[in-house]
């Protein structure tokens, strides 16, 4: 009887066709990335070959060398800048989001629900809408062309606050917080010593998502920064638009710019997937 029940729960049987479809999906996902690495390791004259080369070549070092030697794109500088920007933004977003998320989930104060609604509302507003005045503001305070222009506006995130609030509401027991209070902990001490350790798994996911998003941010750095202080995506677009026939060099740069994120993804992919899937249930 119990085996029959188990069988009926599995509605769709896993057949070879399932695997074929999944493999086709994954090959579609992976092929452009694979192609990027193939071109990055080839010299330009074989890319026009018929049939096109489908295996990696030996020109990677040469192509990478040309990327870093290219003064127009300032690629190394772009990489370092992106590392700084993404790290600072990530640490700040995680800190302020866990802090505010804890307050919204576990502390009582006047106007709490209203303010939470405001935060949810901010998630709906498109970035592009504020692009022009934000740029004008940056010109006014002299930040255009400087790294703080792509850092400071992104130090907090409505999405982050909301995500941490949802997690804190479930993961932190009131008894734990009250016990710490009775022990004489200040609210910040409770946050630091009791709440933060519990929030760590969710905070890690938020940190990973924020890092990747900041690293990949395009339109705002494109508008407010210039070739003297580029982020990696800006370097990449400068290279791609000025040397668009030099595929080997452009693709080597693209691979370099993408590699750090793939490293993060391979190390923490499980957590990122868990975070995205969980988010779907709560939203």
């Amino acid at each position: 009887m119990s085996t029959m029940k188990a069988a009926s729960v599995r509605l769709w049987r896993t057949s070879p066709a399932t695997y074929i479809a999944l493999i086709v999906g994954c090959v579609t996902s992976l092929f452009p990335i694979y192609w990027m690495f193939v071109v990055a390791t080839r010299s330009n004259d074989v890319i026009n070959d018929v049939p096109p080369p489908l295996l990696p070549g030996a020109a990677l070092a040469d192509n990478v060398g040309r990327v870093f030697a290219n003064e127009h794109a300032a690629f190394a500088y772009g990489l370092v800048n992106s590392l700084v920007v993404s790290s600072v933004v990530t640490l700040s977003v995680v800190f302020f989001s866990t802090l505010a998320g804890f307050a919204f989930a576990k502390l009582r104060f006047r106007g709490r629900n209203g303010m939470l609604m405001v935060i949810i509302g901010t998630m709906m507003v498109p970035v592009q809408l504020g692009l022009i005045p934000l740029y004008m503001l940056m010109v006014k305070i002299g930040w255009n062309g400087h790294l703080q222009a792509v850092i400071v506006p992104f130090l907090v995130s409505g999405f982050g606050v909301f995500m941490m609030r949802q997690y804190a509401a479930e993961a932190i027991s009131d008894e734990l917080v009250e016990a710490a209070r009775v022990d004489g902990c200040s609210t910040f001490r409770i946050y630091w010593n009791v709440v933060l350790p519990v929030l760590r798994p969710a905070a890690a996911v938020l940190g990973l998502l924020t890092f990747m998003q900041t690293w990949n941010e395009f339109i705002w750095p494109y508008a407010v920064l210039d070739a003297n202080t580029p982020t990696v995506q800006l370097s990449l677009s400068l290279l791609a638009t000025a040397y668009y026939t030099d595929y080997a060099q452009v693709f080597a740069a693209t691979a370099l710019a993408t590699l750090p994120l793939f490293a993060v993804f391979i190390l923490f992919g499980r957590q990122i997937i868990g975070g995205i899937m969980e988010g779907s249930i709560k939203s």
Binding site: S8, V9, R10, L11, R13, A21, L22, G25, C26, T28, S29, P32, V39, P51, P52, F96, A100, F104, R108, F109, N113, V118, T122, P126, Q128, L129, G130, L131, I132, P133, Y135, V152, P153, L155, V156, G158, D174, E178, R181, V182, G184, T187, M212, N216, F218, I219, Q233, S237, A240, V250, T254, A257, T258, F262, F265, I272, I273, S280, I281, S283
Partner: protein, 317 residues
């Protein structure tokens, strides 16, 4: 949000009271003001860099506003000009066109992939990571790689097409072909993400629903359309809204596809609204008109989100 989930301040203050009155006052102040201090950073930074630009965009859009020199108040002139601006309508047509041919197949594919991943399969994490990895790639990288894949003379796509005995396509030159190329980039990057969102929601559907349907003799396909899809409705609404907000702001893919130019091809055949806004404000320095485009875009997103909400609600009922 019940009151039981909230730490009672009085208990804490009483506990501190017993020890020393000065400390108890400090504790009271801490309990009272700490929450505001904790949420203040968000609101302060958002007010300066989020809310202010938003409101200011509205103000700028009512002016003839240039980078240097005077700005004169012109009322709603920028908006009326927008209505009779063929370039704006062209950009709007392109944006909506690309959005539709990208989003519809994307969500159907995501639904299908989620349904595949929802079975008992080996190498589960591998397949999940496999479908998500495009989302990790930056938009600029996607634009560069697909720009090459869709190149006229050396592109891999044209290689495949000509191998099949068909004529090579000049992907950038025509409206429909450039839309397909750009929609492909969007779908490649976002299908996996939506797949995982839908998969998460599928796994939360109570198994009893399927058991009961199976006992009643419902075929898998019937169960999929009668149980799974309706149960996914809130999540489908969420993914559609997110796709709408993202899709109508489309910018990076078409910019890189057009080699960094804002015009979107020789005839503007793939210039999106955001590209037109960028061109107006940052290349022609007409901030007032650009701001009007920004607000029009926002209005568009709100209208489209509502329309989609109604369609999805009805379709998934």
């Amino acid at each position: 949000m019940t009151s039981s989930s909230v730490v009672r301040a009085s208990a804490a203050a009483r506990a501190a009271d017993a020890r020393d009155p000065w400390r108890s006052r400090l504790t009271r102040a801490d309990v009272r003001f700490a929450p505001y201090l904790f949420i203040a950073p968000f609101f302060v930074l958002f007010a300066i860099f989020g809310a202010f630009p938003l409101v200011y965009t509205g103000w700028v859009s009512l002016h003839d506003w240039h980078l240097i020199g005077d700005h004169t108040f012109v009322g709603l002139d920028n908006y009326t000009a927008l209505f009779s601006d063929p370039d704006f309508w062209n950009a709007l047509k392109n944006t909506v066109g690309i959005f539709v041919i990208a989003t519809v197949p994307q969500l159907l594919m995501a639904l299908g992939m989620a349904n595949l991943l929802n079975r008992k399969i080996r190498a589960r994490t591998f397949f999940r990571m496999g479908v998500l990895i495009p989302n990790v790639t930056s938009v600029a990288a996607v634009g560069i790689v697909f720009g090459q894949l869709f190149a006229r003379d050396v592109g891999l796509v044209n290689y495949v097409i000509t191998s099949l005995g068909l004529d090579a396509v000049d992907w950038q030159a025509n409206t429909w072909s450039s839309w397909i190329a750009i929609a492909t980039m969007v779908d490649w990057r976002w299908t996996g993400y939506n797949t995982l969102i839908l998969l998460g929601a599928m796994q939360a559907i109570p198994k009893e629903l399927f058991e009961a349907a199976s006992l009643d003799g419902a075929a898998p396909w019937q169960q999929f359309w009668r149980i799974t899809v309706p149960q996914l409705r809130p999540t489908l609404v969420f993914t559609v809204i997110i796709s709408t907000i993202g899709g109508l702001q489309l910018f990076t893919e078409p910019v890189i596809f057009g080699n960094g130019r804002m015009l979107g091809g020789t005839l503007g055949q793939f210039q999106t609204v955001t590209m037109y806004m960028y061109e107006t404000a940052f290349q022609r320095f007409q901030y007032g008109y650009g701001a009007a485009i920004a607000w029009a875009l926002f209005g568009l997103i709100v209208v489209f989100s509502l329309i989609n909400l109604l369609i999805v609600r009805r379709a998934a009922r």
